[in-house]
Amino acid sequence: MAYTINVVRKNGNGTLTFKSGSVNISETCWWDQEVVIDAGSYTGYATRMANKTDGTDGGNREAIWLGLNVPYNGNGNTANGFFIHKGTNASWSDGCIVMPGAKVYQMWSEITPKESGNITVNISDETVERGRPQDSDCTRQMHTLWGGMPAFD
């Protein structure tokens, strides 16, 4: 079975959504602002982090691995160690996407089989548009009103 995880980033944090069966997650997530995975679509694997022993079920930490050569910071560099895993804020990140452990575990438990590239992880940025374009050139209106540039003396 194929699964989809969507991460939409906006104003420094994001929302991770995941739906499968009776599981319906929409949760705030965080990441290190200095190491930001490029927006894009990645193949994810439900796995465990072998060197972290703080899994929700008492085993190693549950995580979604995003695969090899994941681009970050928009500068052409790639890295291999990005995961979605538990965390309460960006201090858990170093570039990973983190969210509360209970939600990670709920999502991770739903995904079968484990250790398979059966997840599509879509990461996108929602841009915020403020204000609106000016209707007209106010400077030109002033020049018309004053008959030219005013003298500031």
Binding site: Y45, A63, W65, A79, N80, G81, F82, G117
Partner: protein, 173 residues
């Protein structure tokens, strides 16, 4: 630097390395090859799939960490340097959690490696510093740690290396 000076520096480096190597456990050849391939940005050739490579790297971390705990920390700290330079987020988090506890148990083992290879101090001190405040660990413990270790670090490392390390340790990552 002229050629004679270059050879002199290389000879000195080799002499230091040889002296240190007398006490150090030689790395497993397959692990050494994997680390070279990691430095070159390649998928280590002993793993068949990307997933196997990810788990293999975690295993390499585990083996070298065990060696470090038994007194031979060079390979583990070198892998930490590779992790930081290659922005391996998962591995970097492991180092941020694990370097400082080992340093507390075996400060002289860690500092001996850094004395022989001062260029490893940048990443090692980064990982020591990153312990504080990451994964909800308290930031409050930073200042007492720096105060307690400043003298030991200053004695063990070349002056500019020690100063840079203490500066890194004093700065939240």
């Amino acid at each position: 630097m002229d050629r004679q000076s270059l050879w002199a520096v290389m000879g000195l480096c080799l002499a230091v390395s040889t002296a240190e190597a007398q006490d150090a456990r030689p790395p497993d050849p397959a692990d050494a090859v994997e680390m070279i391939e990691l430095m070159l940005g390649r998928v280590p050739s002993r793993h068949d799939t990307p997933l196997a490579a990810m788990h293999g790297l975690a295993d390499l971390y585990g083996r070298s960490h065990e060696q470090a705990q038994s007194g031979s920390a060079g390979l583990w700290l070198l892998l930490g340097d590779i992790a930081l330079r290659s922005v391996d987020a998962g591995l970097t988090q492991s180092y941020a959690a694990d370097v400082l506890p080992l340093y507390r148990e075996q400060p002289d083992t860690i500092l001996s490696v850094l004395s022989d290879a001062p260029w490893l101090a940048t990443s090692t001190c980064h990982h020591l510093s990153a312990y504080f405040g990451s994964e909800d660990r308290p930031e409050d413990d930073r200042a007492p740690f720096v105060e307690a270790e400043a003298s030991r670090i200053t004695k063990a490392l070349p002056e500019p290396v020690a100063a840079a390390c203490l500066d890194t340790l004093s700065t939240p990552q």
